[in-house]
């Protein structure tokens, strides 16, 4: 009932009845084209410069970045950071890039694959892409990548391959559509730096409800 009234009001305002087949088709065509609006020049760069821009912008947003020669350097980098911060447990996602890591060098660190729980101090996930324009990570939910890992733990490590860095946001939508065949995962997160709030006297404080530290492990692949 409400739906008919709301749509009726809108159509009355537009001085027409229900849209014609042609009007609906025009809208469907517009949607299916996925046309880009103006894309700022900033991120339309050769790939090497996109990587540099990503690092610059993510750093500006207060993310920490470690550039690693190989994904095999992830365990020792995490272990050393966590040791410095007196954290002994790392909760991880379960995608292959993470399950195939060799943690034997990190003897004092317990790694567990599960969703995040209250009280977790640190998590490790992979990412789908990095967006140079604003130093933004894209992650999405899936059987091996629970969303809680991105928000509940105090510290979040994210593996990002250099080859997964794109320029503007538009490139990542294209990549996401290709990978998921148009069916979006339940949750798609764009993350730019650690959690923060300026709700007390307009003064920025880091670490509101999400991770207080966002550590990007940038892999040279």
């Amino acid at each position: 009932m409400s739906k008919a009234e709301i749509l009726g009001n809108i159509r009355r305002g537009l001085k027409r009845g229900e849209a014609t087949q042609d009007q609906k088709q025009a809208v469907a065509n517009r949607i299916n084209k996925h046309a880009r609006n103006l894309v700022p020049q900033r991120a339309q760069l050769p790939h090497e410069q996109q990587v540099a821009l990503f690092i610059e912008m993510a750093t500006e947003a207060a993310a920490q970045i470690y550039q690693l020669e190989s994904i095999n350097d992830v365990p020792k980098t995490c272990a050393s950071w966590l040791q410095d911060h007196q954290i002994d447990t790392l909760v991880t996602a379960s995608d292959e890039a993470i399950t195939s890591l060799d943690w034997s060098s990190a003897t004092d660190l317990a790694c567990v694959q599960r969703v995040a729980e209250i009280g977790d101090a640190a998590s490790l996930t992979t990412s789908f892409a990095g967006i140079a324009e604003t130093g933004t990570l894209m992650l999405h939910s899936g059987a091996t990548s629970p969303t809680t890992l991105n928000f509940l733990p105090d510290n979040h490590f994210v593996i990002l391959k250099r080859s997964d860095i794109v320029g503007p946001y538009e490139d990542v939508w294209q990549k996401l559509r290709e990978t998921t065949k148009g069916d979006l995962p339940r949750t798609v997160n764009m993350i730019t730096g650690p959690s923060r709030s300026a709700d007390i006297e307009q003064t920025l404080q880091m670490g509101a409800h999400g991770p207080k530290d966002l550590i990007i492990l940038l892999i040279n692949d």
């Binding site: 537009l14 949607i31 700022p40 979006l184 339940r186 709700d199």
Partner: protein
């Protein structure tokens, strides 16, 4: 919440003498406007983005019914539900029904102005469901029994001391005046609430027709915990938020953060599409979108249609000299500042909200910073006309305007009057050049001095220039 818009003048008078409020508002001037202008300067294409955003919103509004039905079809395709609600009561009732279906005791909430608009918290509380605000600003306000005075910085009217006091009282912890400690306290207090809630309610910044997704934009991460941990996620939002594609959403995201907080990008931009998928280890099992109308559909095709372009960035109020002087609560309802002065009369009636579109200097700053170029002064003028034609404006105003019209239509008389009042004011001002008090104009001169007219009248300057 109780509507106090009819008492705007009294609200404003009290606000101007409230030292705490004036101190808090002082933070606004050097905050958002400065950050916005820095961010805009870093984006050379910003003006073009505004043009495209304006045109795109116009296109959406011309096809609003088609996009909304497309959005609904895709939400359903992904296993979610859409509920169309004409009135705030319909929306509250629908949300309560969903809560009852899952036998909800507590509900966590991300920041949502639409939920303020429909007065959701009161309704849930009265019906035995406890709503818990999780945005830091909203959480502070809920503890105080207060309500937002700004659409993106809800507690902007408070000072550190206010937060410190209420946390000490409610958390029963030692009093602290360190914002970092206070934020940590809120973080700890809310952790268990996030996990224990049966339903999570968020708003939406945009709805994507192409995918049936809703997106929230936050810096804290509270919205994400709200919508990920409970079994049911309800999105409460309004019909004008729909956009065609992810690319179109991107255009507005580029405008939103820069116009709002002056950030390059907000920390968390999160798309939700349906409930959790087979194999997902977390995420909600139920996904509902409650689409609120509340007068918006009637704005389509009206002189106020352009207001539906609004993306709720708050730039208009951040730059408004009236908002900056009296704060958001003076406006007496949910939406303050210039955008509120246009929306509020639509939602609660011009009879109640007539003073709001009059509380403007028409300086035009709001329109000049609006990312989707809403002609806010023009729309406020439409409300003034509406108010006048319905004979709602006070007698003194009507007589004043009538008197002015009498002279304005008689140029010789008008000139005589302007020359004589010019002389009169100069004599009154004497050597000081300004007047402390004018009879019958105390409302104007109580707060400031009136400068005496200087130089010749417009007509005499015009004549002498024409001759030369």
């Amino acid at each position: 919440m109780q509507i106090t818009s009819p008492a705007f003048k009294e609200n404003a008078r009290i606000a101007l003498h409230d030292a705490g409020l004036q101190k808090a508002l002082g933070n606004l001037k050097e905050g958002f406007p400065v950050k916005r202008s820095t961010a805009v300067a870093r984006m050379p294409e910003f003006e073009q983005l505004r043009d495209e955003g304006t045109a795109l919103k116009n296109h959406i509004l011309e096809n609003l019914d088609i996009y909304l039905e497309q959005f609904e079809a895709n939400v359903i395709k992904n296993g979610g539900h859409v509920h169309w609600c004409r009135t705030p009561e319909d929306a509250c009732k629908k949300i309560l029904d969903i809560c009852k279906e899952v036998d909800a005791k507590t509900v966590t909430k991300g920041k949502s102005m639409v939920s303020e608009e429909i007065n959701l918290n009161d309704y849930l509380e009265k019906n035995g469901v406890e709503p818990i605000e999780t945005d830091l600003g909203e959480y502070i306000l809920q503890l105080r029994g207060d309500h937002p005075s700004h659409i993106i910085a809800p507690a902007i009217h408070l000072n550190l001391e206010d937060v410190s006091e209420i946390f000490h009282e409610k958390h029963k912890r030692p009093k602290s005046s360190d914002p970092k400690v206070l934020m940590q306290e809120a973080r700890e207090m809310l952790r268990e609430k996030f996990a224990g809630a049966d339903v999570g309610i968020t708003g939406a910044n945009f709805l994507v027709a192409e995918t049936g997704s809703s997106i929230i934009v936050t810096n804290e991460g509270n919205g994400d915990l709200t919508q990920t941990l409970p079994k049911t996620h309800i999105v409460v939002t309004s019909i004008e938020k729909v956009v065609p594609t992810l690319e179109d959403m991107t255009l507005f995201l580029r405008l939103l953060a820069r116009s709002a907080t002056g950030q390059e990008f907000t920390v968390y931009n999160t798309l939700s599409t349906g409930p959790r998928r087979a194999g997902d280890q977390d995420g909600p099992e139920n996904f509902h979108v409650v689409l609120v109308d509340n007068g918006r559909s009637e704005m389509v095709g009206s002189e106020f249609q352009e207001m539906l372009r609004c993306i709720r960035c708050s730039a208009c109020m951040n730059h408004c000299p009236v908002y900056g002087a009296v704060g958001g609560h003076s406006y007496g309802w949910v939406y303050p500042g210039p955008m509120g002065s246009v929306l509020t009369p639509q939602m609660i009636g011009i009879e109640e909200a007539g003073l709001l579109p009059n509380a403007s200097t028409f300086c035009g700053k709001c329109e000049s910073v609006c990312p989707v170029r809403i002609p806010l002064p023009k729309l406020m003028r439409h409300w003034r006309e509406d108010e006048f034609s319905k004979h709602l404006s006070p007698k003194a105003v009507r007589w004043g305007i009538g008197g002015w019209a009498f002279f304005a239509k008689r140029p010789t008389l008008y000139r005589l009057l302007s020359i004589s009042s010019n002389l009169f004011l100069r004599v009154m001002a004497g050597k000081k050049g300004h007047i402390k008090k004018i009879p019958l104009a105390g409302g104007w001169t109580d707060g400031r001095d009136m400068p005496a007219p200087r130089g010749k009248t417009f007509m005499s300057q015009y004549k002498s220039r024409k001759q030369s």
